[in-house]
């Protein structure tokens, strides 16, 4: 760890003033990413501003939307009765991530900003454009089994690690921000940016901004939804491929379909081609298999992760079987 100073703030205004006065500072919430990366010297701030005491711990269910404060813990959100009943995919995604201890610590806002698990990002001796712009990407010619098949560039192929953000993408969530220019909202699908030639920039958060919370529009409340995560071990592991699927299912017909993918892309990945296959059509095993294949479109596998192409397609198909209740037998070839 570098020799940073520590301070805490107790109001949102105090947090914004602190970060404006100390542009080299970083916010600390649950600490499950930040403390780890401080210890690895990946983060070397002059000052850590602890925002854990800010009054952002409410989950409020309104008429039009549910608003989740940025400091609600992943556990509290996952077990919240409104979330489990209105947005089961969010609860399922949270409970599929990390461990009981980490979910108790990790915040909603921190989850949105968690850093990639690409091992080269954490290894200071390795080239990594995300950590040190211009140094290169060790993953492109190195071990890249866990890396992205969607949204990568010649500068970065690191996956976004979060399960929660994949579920949020499938329910059209919006992120509430505040900063020097006041409050604003950004849709999940606009918040993250693909690496391109600036992989150090992961999202549209502006300097000095703070996440206040996440808004869940009730247009998606109460619909069928499901999160399926495939990983190397049964628990406490990041996704090789995951799918969040949500739709209105009426008489077997799917409408308002949302499919988002995790573990396979540089950002939470909306599988629009797969959505289009399903939209307005009656679910059948053949249709769900077709949607799975559509989810594979545009994949650009690397040396070690060609298996992810078929894996993600089958993950989507299997998740859709859970969503629709159609029995999942052997998949057509």
């Amino acid at each position: 760890m570098n020799d940073f100073a520590y301070a805490k703030v107790s109001t949102v205004q105090g947090a914004l003033e602190a970060i404006r006065a100390h542009p080299g500072a970083m916010f600390l919430a649950g600490g499950t990413t930040v403390v780890d990366l401080l210890r690895e010297d990946v983060f070397q701030p002059e000052l850590v501003i602890d925002i854990g005491a800010l009054p952002l711990r409410e989950i409020s269910v309104g008429r039009e939307e549910t608003v989740i404060g940025a400091l609600v813990s992943n556990s509290d959100l996952a077990w919240n009765p409104a979330i489990t009943s209105l947005f089961p995919v969010i609860s399922q995604a949270l409970l599929a991530g990390a461990s009981g201890q980490i979910r108790n610590m990790a915040s909603v806002g921190g989850n949105l900003l968690q850093r990639t698990r690409c091992p080269y990002y954490r290894e200071l001796d390795a080239a990594c454009n995300k950590r040190e712009p211009g140094s290169g990407c060790a993953a492109l010619g190195g071990g890249n089994r866990s890396h992205a098949i969607f949204g990568g560039s010649e500068h970065c192929v690191a996956t976004h690690p979060s399960d929660f953000t994949v579920a949020l993408t499938a329910v059209d969530a919006r992120i509430q921000l505040t900063g020097p220019d006041g409050e604003r909202e950004v849709a999940m699908t606009d918040f993250y940016v693909e690496p391109g030639d600036t992989p150090q920039r992961e999202n549209r958060l502006r300097p000095g901004e703070l996440i206040l919370g996440v808004k869940l529009p009730h247009a998606h409340a109460g619909r069928s939804s499901y999160y399926l995560k495939v990983r190397d071990r049964h628990s406490y592991e990041f996704a090789l491929a995951s799918a969040a699927v949500a739709a209105e299912v009426s008489g077997g017909v799917l409408t308002g379909v949302r499919i988002a993918l995790g573990g396979v892309a540089t950002v939470p990945w909306r599988a629009r081609a797969a959505e289009q296959v399903l939209e307005g059509r009656r679910a059948s095993p053949a249709l769900l298999a077709e949607a799975g294949r559509a989810a594979e479109q545009g994949a650009r596998p690397l040396r070690d992760n060609a298996f992810k192409v078929e894996l993600v397609g089958r993950t989507v198909t299997a998740a859709l079987h859970e969503l629709t209740g159609l029995p999942s037998g052997p998949q057509p070839a």
């Binding site: 100073a5 301070a7 600490g31 499950t32 461990s99």
Partner: protein, 211 residues
């Protein structure tokens, strides 16, 4: 606990280490304190004071009020073990991957290695040393002994604290959740069968009888 720690006569390895560290640290800490002069009871608020590198933090551990002088970089794990002299909480990976440093903060299980001690100001911490009531073991401790749920014992305090926290969480009502609920704690000896049996039994002893 089956193996009482550090109660032998004479100078233990821990004492020797601590004396060496304290001697080394004193020359470092004092100028820091004088230089930053920002000691505050609950950790420094940024407004109106300079950010601090050394300060005191007040919280309770196992019901006892403590007020250690810490660095902004100190983890709860480091401070529990030394200077608070509660070495039951173990440093395993120090990266939030093994669970051996699990403690309860305000009743919730957390990883003390990824918790900056400054962030527990005003909170209540429970470690393995605070679990038994007098000589009466907590039901999870008793179940671990009964089911031989350890071999080397290094991960055991974290396993037990994690189980105590888990059994207060909503999903503990489902008996099938024990393996998943305990997945954040690794055991290199592979005592998992005993651990699952112990947590399952403790779950029943603590009154989870549904499902």
């Amino acid at each position: 606990m089956p193996y009482p720690a550090d109660d032998r006569d004479g100078l233990t390895r821990r004492d020797a280490l601590r004396r060496g560290l304290m001697f080394g640290a004193s020359a470092f800490v004092l100028p820091r304190l004088l230089g930053d002069a920002a000691a505050a009871e609950a950790g420094p608020e940024l407004t109106g004071v300079q950010p601090a590198k050394e300060f005191t933090v007040a919280f309770t551990v196992n019901g006892r009020q403590v007020n250690p002088t810490v660095s902004g970089r100190s983890s709860l794990l480091e401070v529990l073990r030394d200077p608070l002299d509660l070495p039951g909480t173990k440093r395993g990976c120090d990266h939030g991957q093994c669970g051996s440093c699990t403690v309860l903060v305000d009743g919730h299980r957390v990883l003390s290695c990824l918790t900056l001690v400054a962030s527990v100001a005003g909170k209540s911490v429970t470690t393995i040393e605070g679990l038994a009531e007098g000589t009466e073991l907590h039901p999870v401790q008793a179940a671990f002994i009964k089911h031989d749920a350890f071999q080397c014992g290094f991960c055991t305090p974290g396993q037990i604290m994690s189980a105590v926290g888990f059994l207060k969480e909503p999903w503990a009502a489902d008996s099938a959740s024990v393996r998943e609920g305990m997945s954040g704690n690794l055991c290199r000896c592979g005592a998992y069968c005993g651990i699952v049996a112990a947590v399952t039994e403790a779950r029943q002893a603590l009154g989870h009888r549904r499902a």
